[in-house]
């Protein structure tokens, strides 16, 4: 066992690191209520001005709608393909299985700029016009991994014998999937879907290369940074985005608690 001094030292360091993680988030929340026209610290006056400005910004609203559409579409594709891949790779043995499972994590092991530039090279080579659809294709590629990871983790912990018992008792393949496999997977699917959505909703690196003239919310934020005197409005949108991605992650973590927690990217 660790000595008393070690334990106290560890506690101090652990909480210092947690403070390091959360201080910047606190700063941005406070900054969004800063009444000043330029970023200042410490904050002299508080106001909700930037929040109401952000809420009535049409371009930001369009960007938000685009982000929601892309997130929903990418999540749907990822749920279908990720689940199928998870079943195939954890319930079967076949030649080349290891290389294929490596392939499924490649989109997150390589840096985003490589994925982004690859997709752009392909878009340019095949003469495709960049649009929200190319963004969905790009996002789905790494969202599949998130769903795949979570479903695989659940399948690893659940036994095939339930499915076999169902078949023995006379259920057909569809009934077994509907009444045995699916309920067992349900929370893993919801968690994977929520994480995939959060990932897509926030993505900028790949989006920047594949969006063409379309704007998602992160792209809107990034473009705002280049304009003078718009940073304060961005802060409000930023806090909104943090809240909107924190909620699904929180819910996902609750849902996956019983199977050893989330498996991330």
């Amino acid at each position: 066992m660790e000595s008393r001094t070690t334990r106290i030292a560890l506690r101090v360091v652990a909480f210092a690191v947690m403070a390091f993680i959360y201080a910047p988030l606190l700063v941005i929340v406070m900054a969004s209520f800063n009444a000043a026209k330029i970023p200042t610290w410490p904050i002299a006056h508080y106001s909700t001005h930037w929040w109401s400005l952000a809420m009535h910004d049409d371009r930001a609203r369009t960007a938000l709608e685009n982000s929601l559409k892309v997130g929903a579409a990418a999540t749907a594709v990822a749920l279908l393909l990720g689940t199928a891949a998870a079943f195939a790779l954890s319930r079967y043995r076949f030649f080349g299985k290891n290389s294929i499972s490596l392939l499924f994590v490649l989109p997150i092991a390589l840096p985003g700029i490589v994925t982004g530039l690859s997709l752009l090279s392909a878009i340019s080579f095949f003469g495709i016009t960049p649009s929200l659809i190319t963004v969905v294709v790009g996002h789905a590629t790494f969202c599949i991994v998130v769903v795949y990871n979570n479903v695989v983790a659940r399948l690893r912990r659940s036994s095939v014998s339930f499915e076999e018992a169902s078949m023995d008792l006379g259920a057909d393949g569809w009934q077994t999937f509907r009444y045995v496999s699916l309920p067992n997977l349900a929370t893993a699917l919801v968690a994977g879907g929520l994480l995939a959505f959060a990932l897509s909703f926030d993505e900028i690196v790949v989006t920047n290369f594949t969006a063409g003239f379309q704007e998602t919310l992160p792209l809107w934020i990034y473009n705002q940074f280049r304009l003078p005197n718009t940073a304060q409005e961005v802060n409000a949108v930023a806090v909104f985005v943090i809240a909107l991605t924190a909620l699904p992650v929180f819910l996902a973590q609750r849902l996956m608690r019983d199977s050893g927690g989330l498996t991330g990217r």
Binding site: R7, Y92, I144
Partner: protein
């Protein structure tokens, strides 16, 4: 015994089920083809085009890409000492960030596993996980606000009577921001590795006369190594390819590989050269992956 009779659709469904049940390979094929096809057609094909593009060339006048093979891009990378400097700076930063995150993440993960109560542990776990998923762009931007000359950091230094320091748009600012943003990626794998070490091993070590330092060196560290290595894949690879932070926190004052690639593609519109430069981080990461695979990093991902 009479077989129960089913309405036609159910009977059809049963026949389909039975058909697939008897042919497992066909079921596997149906499951595997769509996701594998997607990755092959979208991802691997795109990577292949990237590789090919690196060996093509931009027509200077029309801006069109000429599909004739040339190693000109690779030669200009070989001869351009600026690109060498950028590569060295980027790799240095990636190593520095990785080491910093190891030093910060290990005590936190250790505290979570071995010292904290169950309740504190799950709170801390969620506390580490949430910022991992919350907006990367915004976290980068927050660091720009905080590292400014009149930002939060200098304000805090002023309170304790030191400074002010000029860290805005410096490598120091980027080092802080990178270490901050990728920290959760390091905490979670180390946490998972430490959690798997049975307490009895540590007791055995101390029963055999090992002091705290010896137990740490000879028992804990070797067993935690795969987790540390797995975390380092993320911190290293993510730093290596980043270009947003270079812009927002670094103020584009100093180029990194990511920003160089981004600029050649976006501003100079020279996709072939950008693709050729993108092969540098791919090569560096491949070497890195081979190295950490030996430490068991892949099993701890």
């Amino acid at each position: 015994m009479s077989t129960p009779s089913h309405p036609a659709p159910i009977a059809a469904r049963r026949r389909i089920s039975a058909f697939f049940y008897r042919r497992r390979w066909l079921k596997l094929l149906t499951l595997l083809t769509p996701p594998l096809g997607w990755l092959l057609i979208v991802y691997l094909a795109a990577l292949a085009v990237l590789l090919a593009t690196a060996f093509w060339q931009q027509d200077v006048l029309s801006g069109k890409i000429l599909h004739t093979w040339t190693s000109a891009n690779l030669q200009s990378i070989r001869d351009d000492s600026a690109i060498h400097t950028v590569t060295r700076n980027t790799v240095q930063m990636a190593v520095l960030v990785t080491l910093t995150d190891m030093l910060l993440a290990f005590p936190l993960a250790y505290y979570m596993v071995r010292v904290a109560s169950r309740r504190t542990r799950s709170l801390l776990f969620l506390g580490v996980l949430m910022p991992l998923w919350s907006s990367y762009l915004i976290k980068a931007y927050t660091w720009r606000l905080m590292t400014g000359d009149a930002g939060t950091i200098n304000w805090a230094f002023d309170k304790i009577g030191v400074g002010p320091f000029h860290i805005a748009y410096t490598t120091t600012a980027m080092w802080l921001a990178f270490s901050y943003i990728w920290l959760p990626y390091m905490v979670l794998p180390i946490y998972a590795a430490l959690e798997r070490i049975p307490g009895s091993l540590l007791e055995a070590s101390s029963d055999l006369g090992g002091r705290a330092g010896r137990t740490f060196r000879s028992v804990i560290l070797p067993l935690a190594l795969p987790g540390i290595a797995a975390g380092s894949i993320f911190t290293f690879s993510l730093t290596l390819g980043d270009y947003i932070m270079v812009d927002l926190v670094g103020g584009n004052k100093q180029d990194f590989l990511g920003s160089l690639i981004f600029r050649y593609q976006g501003v100079a519109n020279d996709l072939p050269l950008a693709a050729a430069i993108a092969l540098i981080p791919v090569a560096v990461i491949t070497v890195y992956l081979v190295l950490v695979k030996r430490l068991g990093a892949f099993e701890a991902l």
